[in-house]
């Protein structure tokens, strides 16, 4: 396969899968700009290995790069304050409940360690099996089960996720 053909195939792959991959990156980072940067970096890394990838495994390869690059960025992140000229107040009185539920979930996701968050997104957004998730994360199936179980336990504090469980418990 010559270079032009490889490039055309890669661009076709990106055109088809970009949106879905961007959604995964968004859930991993929680920030629009970082998601775009993360995906672009991952696609560039994938491009350098494209000549030895099979069409069927390419998407899984990008996802693995996404998760591992996100983990690297997370380790290097700066957690101190970021000066802002204007406080990001949002006035949305009509959708207050929805916005607050959404924020609660974002906060809960952001509070998870990076591998736990990645395991959760691969399992419950990408619908990966435990085996596939373990391959992407480079760990055992048991570790994936443990990561997901602990992540779900933490997310029970989010009202919108725990809402339907409490009545059942109270009925027992």
């Amino acid at each position: 396969m010559d270079r032009a053909e490889q490039e055309a195939r890669f661009q076709a792959f990106v055109a088809i899968r970009y949106h879905r991959l961007l959604q995964t990156a968004y859930l991993l980072t929680g920030d629009r700009g970082r998601a775009e940067d993360l995906l672009q970096t991952s696609l560039l890394k994938t491009w350098s290995a494209w000549h030895r990838l099979h069409q069927e495994t390419a998407e899984a390869y990008v996802r693995t790069v996404l998760v591992r690059t996100a983990a690297t960025w997370w380790r290097r992140r700066w957690t101190r304050e970021r000066p802002t000229a204007v406080l990001p107040d949002r006035a949305a009185p009509d959708e207050l409940a929805r916005v607050s539920e959404r924020d609660a979930l974002w906060r809960a996701l952001a509070g998870l360690p990076v591998r736990m968050r990645a395991a959760l997104i691969l399992r419950y957004f990408e619908d990966y099996s435990e085996q596939q998730t373990a391959e992407v994360l480079g760990c055992s199936v048991g570790s994936v089960k443990s990561l997901c179980s602990r992540a779900l336990a933490r997310l029970r504090t989010v009202p919108s996720l725990a809402a339907e469980e409490n009545p059942r418990r109270s009925m027992r």
Partner: protein
């Protein structure tokens, strides 16, 4: 433990969250050019690695035996190619990034810090020192960003800001750091109108005091300063350390008079005990006002200092003789609101940024590079208007460039 209910709801809510993001067309359009650039870099990298292997082999055979007797070259013999500046982060309108920029094109080459910093300094080893936190206001912590991106906390240096002025400066060998800033001392309640028409009311007046200090630096900043001084009624600019690290100049603007004037508080560290001297700087024309927020010292003669003055709308570069405080105009920098000065690692090249107001209300920045052989021997090399997104702050502490 069964997770059936929460798993189902989590799946649904993750999909809802993911729907918030849509691909931006410009990113997709730029991707092919990024791919080509990545390919070029890979090819260039392979070639560079091959060349490096050959060069190292040649060096091992021919150069290294002479290295022990060959004196090290002091500083760079070529003008600075890059500088540091902060800009508004396009994706986060309130946030800022500190980046490394190409002097000739004004393009950003790398992000040094992905969070906003107010002051920074490039050290000779390539690391960048930034204000890590301004909280508490009167005891700024500094952090060092190593060339590989690692961040190391350095310790505290007292205040480095206040009203936007002040700052810090390391010596060339990074063995000491000078810091200057304002700190509130007392709050007084007075009765006044404060411009209101509905009668007198209580007004809080906050007194401030400038603190000037020099700390020793090892792996971190020493807890005890080498010397410190506090002055009232004066706003400090960024301190200046001489090339040999034995002299520190703190320029302060005296604010409690009708005609603001600039003084230099000079600290001599060459003797057994630190000694302070004070001199009032005099502009070469009564129509001009020395700025004092940014300055550099002559690398050969620490009694000569370059700073700027404003004469109406005109900015001028002046050479000040610190023995008597007399300033002398060297160059007219053009119309502008403010100017910032910095030297490169060899102390042979001067980088001057001038800021002026644009007609659309924005700020235009221009960067000019000079060869400076000390004294009045100044030779312009290049000038460039910086791109619109590179918007240094106006007013307060000048966001001066620093050569990388």
């Amino acid at each position: 433990m069964s997770h059936d209910g929460i798993e189902r709801r989590l799946r649904a809510q993750l999909r809802t969250l993911a729907e918030e993001i849509q691909p931006s067309p410009d990113r997709l359009q730029r991707l092919p050019s990024r791919l080509r650039a990545a390919r070029r870099r890979r090819v260039a990298g392979s070639l560079a690695a091959a060349c490096l292997t050959i060069a190292v082999a040649v060096a091992v055979v021919r150069v290294l035996p002479l290295a022990s007797t060959t004196p090290a070259i002091q500083g760079s013999s070529s003008p600075p190619r890059t500088f540091l500046s902060d800009n508004i982060e396009p994706k986060d309108p309130g946030g800022r990034q500190l980046g490394r920029y190409d002097v000739s094109t004004g393009r950003r080459l790398a992000v040094v810090s992905d969070w906003g910093v107010h002051r920074w300094q490039l050290l000779d080893d390539g690391s960048v020192v930034v204000e890590a936190t301004l909280s508490p206001l009167c005891d700024t912590s500094l952090a060092r960003i190593l060339p590989d991106g690692q961040r190391r906390p350095l310790g505290k240096v007292g205040p480095t800001s206040g009203g936007g002025d002040g700052g810090f400066a390391f010596s060339a060998d990074a063995k000491l750091v000078a810091a200057a800033g304002l700190c509130p001392t007392a709050t007084r309640l007075d009765t006044g109108t404060a411009g209101r028409s509905d009668g007198p009311r209580r007004i809080a007046t906050i007194s401030t005091r400038a603190r000037l200090a020099v700390y020793p630096v090892g792996a971190t900043i020493g807890a005890k300063p080498l010397s410190t001084r506090t002055v009232d009624g004066r706003v400090p600019g960024r301190p200046v350390v001489s090339a040999d690290g034995h002299h520190v100049a703190f320029l302060v603007t005296v604010t409690n008079t009708n005609h603001p004037k600039v003084e230099a508080l000079l600290l001599d560290l060459s003797g057994a005990q630190p000694s302070w001297r004070q001199v009032t700087l005099r502009p070469d024309s009564a129509a001009c006002q020395l700025q004092g927020s940014s300055a550099v010292l002559d690398r050969h003669d620490p009694s000569l200092l370059l700073t700027t003055e404003s004469c109406g709308a005109e900015q001028r570069l002046v050479l000040v003789d610190l023995r008597n405080g007399q300033a002398r105009t060297l160059l007219q920098l053009g119309k502008g609101t403010q100017a910032g000065l910095d030297l490169d690692a060899s102390r042979s090249y001067l980088l001057v940024t001038t800021w002026s107001a644009r007609r659309d209300g924005g700020i235009a920045a221009r960067l000019t590079t000079y060869r400076w052989d000390g004294g009045s021997r100044l030779q312009p090399l290049s000038g460039r208007t910086l791109s619109q997104d590179l918007t240094p702050r106006s007013g307060g502490a000048p966001a001066t460039p620093a050569q990388w």
